[in-house]
Symmetry: C2
Subunit: 325 residues, 2 copies
């Protein structure tokens, strides 16, 4: 679908709460359709109302269950919820992930909850931008809260949750979790820690250690909540911490500061990606570049020298700007 009447109508239907329009628009954004720019321009004025919560942590800590139980509390409070689950899926993993999602079944039947899974595999770095596009659609569609859940702790997942208004890092009392989370840089982006499966040994010691750690950081202390999501224990406490932090963020301007920062990063990232795409399109077609690549592939020329040849030739580089898109 190109830009035009179809998209305008879809956006209008979504804004009028047509439940079929939202998933279709999401698919366009995920597929990096040409219509994306038009969609975003049109929904822009309707965004900025939803509060976006990132939930991350090592695999197996129970993030899906935490998201599930938080959703139940939000629904009791009559908040509408959007859930974006970012999964490092592969052709083989469909089953396993589906299993995780089955617990969410109750919410599948609730029109106040919209759930969408997105794959990290094969996204080559563009995923954070795409997830942000999907978050904006959910925002414009009138969701009060958006939960973004990641599986795994790579750079992509870090970029994804970093774009949230607040980040919950979910760990279990197993010490390996904390080390993995720390290595992955999650300690630096956590606004709230949930030590889930807190009935396991070591939970209170881990809480004490985390609290000692967060005490070293300047600013508002980071809460550490002991939860048992599968039993629904202390999820209300986690929700209260979320609410409390949100109030603080709104009062001290932190929320607006984060959102401005996010918009800046999103713009520069998108611009880079577009410059890169245009360049690659050119590289596909340009005979001179192909010849150069062949010499590199044959081992006759090192890639550094080949790059220098391309970049020193301003006339050559200029060619791709006057082509493409």
């Amino acid at each position: 679908m190109g830009t035009g009447q179809g998209v305008i109508e879809l956006v209008e239907r979504m804004l009028a709460s047509d439940t079929l329009a939202l998933p279709r628009l999401i698919s366009l954004v995920e597929g990096e359709s040409e219509a994306v720019a038009d969609i975003m321009r049109r929904i822009g004025p309707h965004t900025g109302r939803a509060y976006c919560i990132g939930v991350t942590g090592p695999p197996g800590t129970g993030k899906s269950t935490v998201v599930d139980k938080l959703t139940a509390i939000m629904r009791e409070k009559e908040l509408s919820v959007g859930i974006v689950a970012v999964d490092p899926s592969s052709p083989f993993s469909g089953g396993a992930l589906l299993g995780d999602r089955i617990r969410m079944q109750q919410h599948y039947l609730d029109s106040g909850v919209f759930i969408r899974s997105m794959a990290t595999r094969g996204s080559h770095g563009g995923l954070p931008v795409t997830v942000q596009g999907v978050i904006k659609l959910l925002d414009a569609s009138g969701r009060d809260v958006i939960l973004v859940e990641t599986v795994g702790v790579g750079q992509t997942e870090l970029d994804v949750v970093n774009a949230a208004d607040i980040v919950i890092v979910v760990l279990t009392p197993e010490s390996g979790d904390a080390i993995q989370a720390m290595k992955a840089g999650l300690f630096e982006i956590a606004d709230i820690f949930a030590i889930n499966k807190a009935d396991r040994e070591g939970a209170s010691r881990m809480k004490a250690e985390l609290e000692a750690f967060v005490a070293m950081k300047p600013g508002e202390p980071i809460p550490v909540v002991l939860t048992q999501a599968h039993r629904g224990i202390a999820i209300d406490e986690l929700y209260e911490e979320l609410e409390r932090r949100r109030r603080i963020q709104e009062e001290n301007g932190e929320l607006e500061r984060r959102r401005r920062q996010r918009r800046r990063e999103e713009f520069l990232e998108m611009l880079q990606r577009k410059v890169r795409t245009r360049f690659l399109d050119f590289a596909e077609k340009d005979g001179q570049l192909k010849d150069l690549a062949e010499r590199v592939v044959a081992g006759e020329l090192d890639p550094y020298s080949a790059c220098a040849q391309v970049l020193d030739d301003r006339q050559w580089l200029g060619k791709w700007l006057t082509q493409g898109e």
Copy 2:
């Protein structure tokens, strides 16, 4: 250090087996020094002799120990070894990783083994290119074998080991490992599976399952070896599989095909990164772009429209080509 006499001398000293020159050149490559292109041009004719083995898998499967024990076998055969350990390190993790490395201590005292750790954090996607640069230096310095070990299973780690001549995926009999490896796409790049800690329950069942899985793939069957690296059990078998696969790769042209493919990818990736860097340098300085970014940050303009404004203005885009570097 700029390009010039210093670098020429360093490269010559490295080629003459001066043990102090190699780490200094590696630091230049890691720091993305201006001298990198010159270094690579000079070492180019001396590369292509080393065989590069990638070792990957989920955290905690014992990859370091596997690398350690393989190194011991290679040293017995009087092969010189280079080890590149790619760690997702953060300021906090120094201790934990050092612990992993302490087992390698015996090799630290062996001049036939060169060990270097490289951090993934903060590399913003440039790591695979840098690791390849380091591999080339080790290759040119005369190492017979280079072992590249990754911690974690993100896209960066996948790109890193994908550049090896052969890839060993290390799992343990815990089923979570296989699922994590599968999700991360490791099954698609594995040339050999090692089920390590094979004294644990479920090892032989996992071997049967993996063998059933690999039987579905076309081509040479992928070996599955049960190892207990910490006890040195079946590492010789793993080494024999490595040797056997290498002979097959050399005979059927697979090795050359992979290396050509790697050179192509490396060149295009490098070129893209350089185009991007030049663009970012320009974006830093350009007042018109800054104004546009401010409007995006303030929420007055959506990033898609802002990108379109930049990319549609060929005169504007042309400016950055005539500036920079």
